[in-house]
Amino acid sequence: MPRLAVSVKLPYALRLRAESYRVGPLLELIRVENPPSLAAAVARTVVQAEFDHAETDDADEKQRLRVRDAEQLLRRTNRLLRWYRAVSRKTDIVELTRAQASPFEFQVLGEPAGKGWEDPINYEAAGPTPAPLSLGELT
């Protein structure tokens, strides 16, 4: 039974201890890993969640499970970010879309598993990004 660790690198460096946090009404676990130095200009926090699945040779089933894991990690991440924004009063911390959180990296923990569990999942933005409006266009 593969145990999968799914992780994403946030566009933020959160000032949180590196440990597991429980989020949401179901108290789901999300682990926070901070870079060695938050002072670095490119320091970014990594969040991770683990999931257990039965081994399968069905590539479609494997993909469905991995996509669901990525969705769950994103949901937990956004709950964590909402909480962090509230307690830190940092209004620039906003929730992430699938594309902003991509790539979702997968790692099999423990016993080796079949092929296809560790392929990263990438989302691209579904449509064109609107250009920011100037002050003149806004008023």
Binding site: K62, V67, R68
Partner: protein, 84 residues
Amino acid sequence: MPFQNDATLEAEVGHFFGDYQGTFFSEPHGQVRADLFRLGDRLEAHVSFPTGLDADGVTDRYMSDLSAYARQKGFEGRLHLILS
């Protein structure tokens, strides 16, 4: 016929995404569309969901068909999916 050619794609986005190889439509419900491009030594599948489903709601098979296509075209282990 899950693989078709969209003649407009090569001209519209080929210079950006790579060499257009074809477009895949999943069966039986057409829930998944994958536009396939060769970029360097890998095959990139730009996957979208025309019926409005999210990637986790899809019931059609597509990974096995795309993997088989990649293997057949010499891209085994070098298929990369980009989901919308």
